[in-house]
């Protein structure tokens, strides 16, 4: 336990030193931060944007992070700060997409059948096998695509990722009250979409 805490402290110190060097002009050392956090950023972005756009968005996250390093105060750990940039870059992606008015997909008979099967699952095993099917992911994507970018961002963080309202507020750079209100509205909107009322 004590060893773990010492290792964490040593890593944090090492990271602070690395950040100091990068800010001091040793630009190439930023590559070390990319390889350190690439997987984490990929995981955040991969769950939020279409697979074909993941690499491009991850790239944008790191470029934004580099040019925003001057704003990193060190009040929160670097990985939290970077996660916030990743979440906001994905949010911007959906805002731009809404402006472009990309047509929303519709549900097919396969999807409707999946919903009926998922609702009718009698055992845990049956339910687990249903949620692993590709239709599940597509129905989720369909429902999320009908939400506003704000509702989508909050719903993903709070209801799907399971972050607290405070954490979600930090990641989005919004107030706790805004996130609380949005989270409630987003869930209400999702329920309406799933019931076919929106």
């Amino acid at each position: 336990m004590a060893d773990e805490s010492l290792t964490k402290r040593a890593q944090a110190g090492d990271e602070q030193d690395l950040l100091r060097r990068i800010r001091g002009g040793d630009r190439d050392r930023f590559a070390e931060l990319i390889s350190r956090y690439e997987d984490r950023v990929l995981r955040i972005v991969g769950r939020r944007v279409p697979a074909a756009r993941v690499e491009e968005i991850v790239h944008d996250v790191f470029v934004r992070a580099y040019f925003g390093l001057a704003q990193f105060s060190g009040d929160v750990p670097f990985d939290h700060w970077l996660a916030g940039i990743a979440v906001r870059t994905c949010y911007d992606f959906w805002r731009d997409r809404t402006r472009e008015e990309v047509p929303v997909s519709t549900l097919t008979d396969d999807h409707h059948r999946w919903i009926e099967q998922a609702l009718g699952a009698q055992s845990d095993d049956e339910w687990r096998s249903q949620v692993s099917r590709w239709e599940a992911k597509e129905v989720l994507e369909w429902a999320l695509s009908r939400l506003s970018p704000e509702n989508r961002a909050v719903l993903t963080l709070v209801h799907l990722d399971g972050h607290s309202v405070r954490e979600a507020a930090q990641l989005l750079g919004w107030t706790v009250v805004t996130v609380k209100v949005r989270a409630h509205r987003a869930r209400h909107a999702l329920r309406k979409i799933l019931s076919g009322n929106l």
């Binding site: 630009r27 190439d28 930023f30 590559a31 990319i34 390889s35 690439e38 997987d39 990929l42 995981r43 972005v45 991969g46 769950r47 697979a51 993941v54 690499e55 991850v58 790239h59 790191f62 470029v63 580099y66 040019f67 549900l107 409707h112 919903i115 998922a118 609702l119 339910w127 687990r128 249903q130 949620v131 692993s132 599940a136 992911k137 129905v139 989720l140 429902a143 993903t156 209801h159 799907l160 999702l190 329920r191 799933l194 019931s195 076919g196 009322n197």
Partner: protein, 106 residues
Amino acid sequence: MTEYRDDELQKLERALTEAYRRQPDPVPGAGLAQQVMRDIRQGASDSGRWISAVAVDQLVWRTATMAAAVVLVLSVFTVGVVRSMTGERAGLLAEEFESAPLLGDE
């Protein structure tokens, strides 16, 4: 779509949440760090060019402001000098009139 009961909606939400959490993590693409670093270098040199363009703009504006200030000071000075000269002339002219006898005085 069918109208669902509250418990059915909860079950559907739970299934979708689970489906979301079961998504496999994407595999990192090769050479991401190199691509990012290349764009950062490019962006930094672009921002350097941008900074020098801003500096030139500032220099032009400062020079123009200083030139305008000099012109203003010179104008005020010239107006002052001209006024004082015309004032003197007017004074001299007034003296001429005062010293000269008026028609009725003769």
